[in-house]
């Protein structure tokens, strides 16, 4: 393990994740809260105390990870001396089902909870039945599985979603999984039986998307194995990162439509209209940046890759095909000479058009290199990665 410090919260989150199903939900919830608010020492000590008091066995590498984290947070690394260590974890059977919709009464809560969180890819719910006495409260118990991308922050997501549910009087086990990382048996079983919650812009798939983990090998999150959402082979291109996500929107409304309907109020109070984030093929040319040559704007729109609805922010700010074609046609013309298409544009669209021209002009002046990535995006991934220390939120590359 590296001693970079910045990856420590993610490693601690992964450790807590690996304890799910073995340590009680209340302890995990509290440990994640401590982690999210920056009290890493209290978080790991709570975990150690729970393991000791419950006589819960851990694997040798789990104990090594706990010892390392205790050392990193300047706690007493010898606390792990009394932890029971085993080579193979005892099998604790949890049963998962979603025959009765586990999300029916919490979908709006979850949608609201994740609307302010970055890079939430999907939310799923499942009922869990555990052996008698293992967890307090009536059975089955609700479990919420949140999938986040590399731009998301797992501890904060777990804490915020759990806090929203608790505030509403809903007890649930909230597990935040990062795309591309291994699933434990526990999480794989939960995902397999889970049902998607239709949050804004996320796909609602009838069948669970995850690969189950290999049988009878529980454990650590850094071992390569089954991955979340089948993307070990083809990781999706970095999701377009939108400008600050607007307020949560209903599923059926696109961001552009909503922006247009509310533009009259917003434009008076904002210095410039919200920027659209969309996929437009662009290439650098001598004269600057212009759209790819193509037969017609409509054909170009058809050539655009089908947007992968993995990023809620992307979807809510996506322009519709006809709007895209209109804007592309307008961009092909000189801004000084409004085309007929431009003449037909509303004030709102003209403002967007002007915004695009300004962006392009600015990029031309600064000589920023553009790549033929088939998209126009504002990428903050580098700054996020430096903040977290490593790419992919500290997970081992698959």
């Amino acid at each position: 393990m590296t001693n970079d410090g910045v990856g420590l919260p993610v490693r601690l989150h992964d450790l807590l994740l690996s304890m799910a199903g073995r340590v009680d939900d209340d302890a995990l919830s509290l440990a994640r809260e401590f982690l999210a608010v920056g009290e890493l020492d209290r978080s790991i000590e709570l975990l150690v105390g729970t393991l000791l008091a419950g006589g819960i066995p851990v694997l040798p590498d789990e104990r090594a990870a706990i010892t390392w984290i205790l050392h990193e947070v300047r706690s007493d690394a010898s606390l792990t001396d009394r932890l029971p260590v085993v080579e193979m974890l005892p099998f604790l059977r949890h049963r998962f089902t979603s025959e009765t919709d586990p999300a029916s009464d919490v979908a709006s809560l979850l949608t609201r909870a994740v609307s302010v969180l970055p890079d939430v890819r999907s939310v799923r719910c499942v009922w869990r039945s555990s052996p008698a006495g293992a967890t307090p409260g009536p059975l089955p118990q609700r479990m919420v599985l949140v999938d986040i991308g590399p731009q998301g922050f797992a501890p904060a997501t777990a804490y915020r979603v759990d806090a929203v549910l608790r505030k509403a009087g809903v007890r649930a086990s909230v597990e935040v999984l990062t795309t591309g990382t291994q699933l434990s048996d526990y999480h794989a079983s939960a995902v397999t039986s889970s049902r998607a919650v239709p949050i804004s812009g996320s796909p609602v798939t009838p069948s669970p998307p995850a690969q189950p983990a290999p049988p009878a090998q529980p454990a650590m999150a850094h071992e390569p194995a089954a991955t979340w959402f089948d993307q070990s082979e083809e990781l999706p291109a970095p999701a377009p990162v939108a400008e600050p996500t607007p307020a949560p929107e209903p599923v059926e409304e696109t961001g552009s439509r909503r922006a247009r309907s509310s533009s009259s109020n917003l434009e008076g109070s904002q210095p410039f209209p919200p920027k659209p984030v969309k996929r437009i093929p662009i290439v650098p040319t001598e004269a600057g940046i212009e759209l790819l040559p193509g037969p017609s704007p409509i054909d170009r729109a058809e050539m655009l890759p089908e947007p992968t609805p993995i990023n809620r922010a992307e979807v809510t700010t996506e322009l519709k095909a006809d709007e895209l074609a209109a804007l592309q046609a307008a961009l092909a013309e000189s801004p000084a000479e409004p085309s007929s298409v431009d003449a037909n544009l509303s004030e709102r669209e003209r403002a967007l058009l002007q915004q695009l021209h300004e962006e392009l002009a600015q990029r031309e002046q600064t000589g920023a290199k553009t790549t033929d990535s088939g998209r126009w995006q504002i990428d903050r991934s580098s700054s996020r990665q430096s903040a977290f220390g490593v790419a992919n939120n500290g997970h081992q590359p698959q």
Binding site: D26, A27, L30, E39, D41, R42, E45, L46, V48, G49, T50, L52, A53, G54, G55, S75, D76, S78, L79, R82, A132, G133, P136, G137, P138, R171
Partner: protein, 200 residues
Amino acid sequence: MSDTCHELLLRLAGRLPDELLWRYRDWAASDAYAVLARSLPRTLLHGRIPLTDHEMRLLQDALVPYGAEPGAVSSVKGLDELPPTDYTFSPESPDRVPMGDSATVVLGATLRGRHGVGEVRSCWRIGPSGVNRVLLVAATTGHARLTGELQRVLRALGEHDPCVEVVPSGLDLPPYHRAALAASEPVCAGAESDEHLVLS
């Protein structure tokens, strides 16, 4: 040592968050004093929870030998006298319909005639966090372990943050426990039938 720690954790009822207090008592029941010695002082400091001089001595005696940082222990705020509790107590739960109380039935079956256990009483606590059952048990021995056991029984019966107060003989009850005892009703009695909870 365990009696010292138990008395300290007993006195912190209503002052530490329930979700931490029951867990610390569970750790004490499981002899996990080393981690308790690190965690409890930090929780007191984080919550600016003050202790009386007597409680401060209990903290030092109970946890410094297990690795509590003397500096952290010394930084805990002082308190001249325990104020009245902010909670109110009731013999009946205000938000449950009258019906069979399975927890009381199980606890009665578990504790009735049990060695080392005296009077067992129960009441309901009303506070900002909602309504919680409070179990008051007079005991002559094994206080920490009895607390841990009863907490786990109540957890299995559905209480997320069980409030189990096992009171040693002759203890001068803090305001929290006096208020709870005043509103409580008897559940059963153990083998030590002469061991009563007494309002002092």
